[in-house]
Symmetry: C2
Subunit: 336 residues, 2 copies
């Protein structure tokens, strides 16, 4: 296996750069994640290992590390809280896969398929509780406030998404509200923790929060766009998952904005009534293409990416800050 | 509606006595529960109202109030933390009913039937998060430690229960471990909060914890016994629920201890293979009766009740302490 120095420079992404800068910290986080999901109940460890060891890019804990390093905060505390953030994220993935009846996650069978819905619900609860146990070890009430607020907002976003499923008249604002809850709230909390650890003051805390929130929104919009054009092998999920689940995301909402009556009837049938035939995904992709749903979706993502990068300008200048700025573009333009 | 004074004295239970002594505090808790489950997402409030407004006896929040009053602690803090305890309890009920595929709860259709599994999982997550938000408002790291430990232990108990479902060789110790997790941990936490609020010292905190833990174990054993002999109209659940779910509880474990080969084959078929025929519950009840599973189960519950009452003796003497002692007996001997 080549050492990082031998990797061709062209393959290095902004994520790789940040990861390289924080490699020993990320190792410490990974160790903590493995040791702190221990339980006397074997099934907990089996299921948690299955999901956590499967990898994923660990973007959220990395953001906690980066936001702490940016303010020269105590990295030991950052390790612990980064692990909390990943536990909360993992718990929500477990519950999401049950709720969405998903079959795949990160390119392999999802935990609910392998271990069953019951175990997924309960181990999700365990990881969520474990995250709060770790936070009490850290002892900062402000951190506990930030992450319990985020957890409640995530659940609200998920319930809202469920409530509006298949509603083709859903305004774009509601979509933004859903993804702010289900995705951006945890990004915001993950980075807000940094200036709190470093005691950098409320203005920096707010700026970091803005950064994370807008990055999270941009990331989720880009993810939703990918669902209609992604490279299946790379993203480890099937194109059209949102379509099959009747989830109305940016590409479809744009296709709906100028839809003919006939097109609206199509969307009502496939998304509201969930009456889907073999060729309907192909038809959906054609309608999204006709109305430039992909292009408009990416432009929307870019507008939030811009806000995220603007929030960064108020932070201490450093190579890491520049890398975070590059990361924003990367996360919106990725095809993985 | 008659005022409490007009109620015939014979109908007053120890629970009524404690409730009467703490009536205005319980009103404050009920108000907090209703106001703090507010969310901009309507489905959250609808589902939470359905379950919480349905009542239940609110034993756990009442125990938090009583344990605080016993030490003359700040009742305002007790109100908030009692609401947290009820939110955690409600969240676990929502998830349990999904995991057990329950159809009924408190005498009406369970939330998963009315609102679906998806909403039940996600609103459970919301209530759980909301509990931690309220705790951060209170601001005590010790309380957060106690309740996050309890939450993790509850999840561990539930996963363990799932792991050993249908295993007719399960030792009685494992059963105690399951119910200590799924039930007693929250009882213990609910009462441990009192001496913490009142700053009554670690010995009193430990004594209260012992009281709650043993009360919780006794209560759950009694509940499991009721599942094979309960008055269906009163308990609002069907006799034999545990049987149908293949949950091995005290009455069945006692019936298994001296079972003949033929009897073991019966239990293996109905509990392990879950191959149940029309008359099997009747046969199960007959076998439990033959081996005195009810009597032995109640004796086991009584032994934990004894420990709970012993723990009380180290606490400040007061009418409330005496009522708590009566409550222990009542919760083990009830037929509701």
């Amino acid at each position: 296996m080549p050492s990082p120095a031998q990797k061709p420079a062209l393959q290095q992404t902004p994520l790789d750069h940040i990861l390289a800068a924080l490699e020993s910290d990320m190792d410490a986080v990974n160790t903590l994640i493995l040791t702190r999901m221990e339980s006397p109940v074997p099934l907990i460890k089996q299921l948690a290992t299955y999901l956590i060891a499967a990898g994923g890019k660990r973007v959220r804990p990395l953001l906690t590390l980066a936001s702490t390093a940016l303010y020269s905060g105590d990295m030991k505390r950052a390790h612990l809280l980064a692990a909390c953030v990943e536990f909360i994220h993992t718990a929500t993935l477990l519950h999401d896969d049950v709720v969405d009846e998903s079959r795949e996650r990160r390119g392999k069978e999802s935990a609910n398929v392998v271990f069953g819905n019951q175990a997924s619900v309960l181990v999700g609860d365990f990881l969520f509780s474990r995250a709060f146990q770790l936070m009490t070890e850290d002892g900062s009430i402000e951190v506990l406030r930030i992450l319990s607020d985020a957890s409640a907002t995530i659940a609200e976003g998920e319930v809202l998404q469920l409530s509006v499923a298949g509603q083709i008249d859903m305004p774009m604002d509601t979509y933004i509200q859903v993804i702010t809850g289900k995705t951006a709230a945890l990004f915001a909390a993950a980075v807000e923790v940094g200036p709190v650890i470093a005691d950098a003051g409320s203005a920096q805390q707010q700026a970091m929060r803005d950064f994370g929130l807008n990055l999270g929104i941009a990331f989720q919009i880009a993810d939703d766009v990918l669902d209609y054009r992604g490279n299946q092998a790379k993203i480890g999920k099937t194109v059209g998952d949102d379509f099959r689940e009747g989830k109305l995301t940016a590409p479809v909402l744009y296709a709906l904005q100028n839809a003919s009556d006939e097109e609206r009837a199509f969307w009502a049938r496939v998304m509201t009534d969930k009456d889907q035939q073999a060729d309907d995904l192909k038809q959906a992709l054609a309608l999204i293409d006709k109305h430039d749903g992909i292009g408009k979706g990416l432009a929307l993502a870019a507008s939030y990416a811009q806000k995220a990068k603007y929030a960064l300008t108020t932070m201490p200048d450093s190579p890491l800050r520049a890398q975070l700025s590059d990361l924003v573009d990367y996360m919106v333009n990725r095809d993985f």
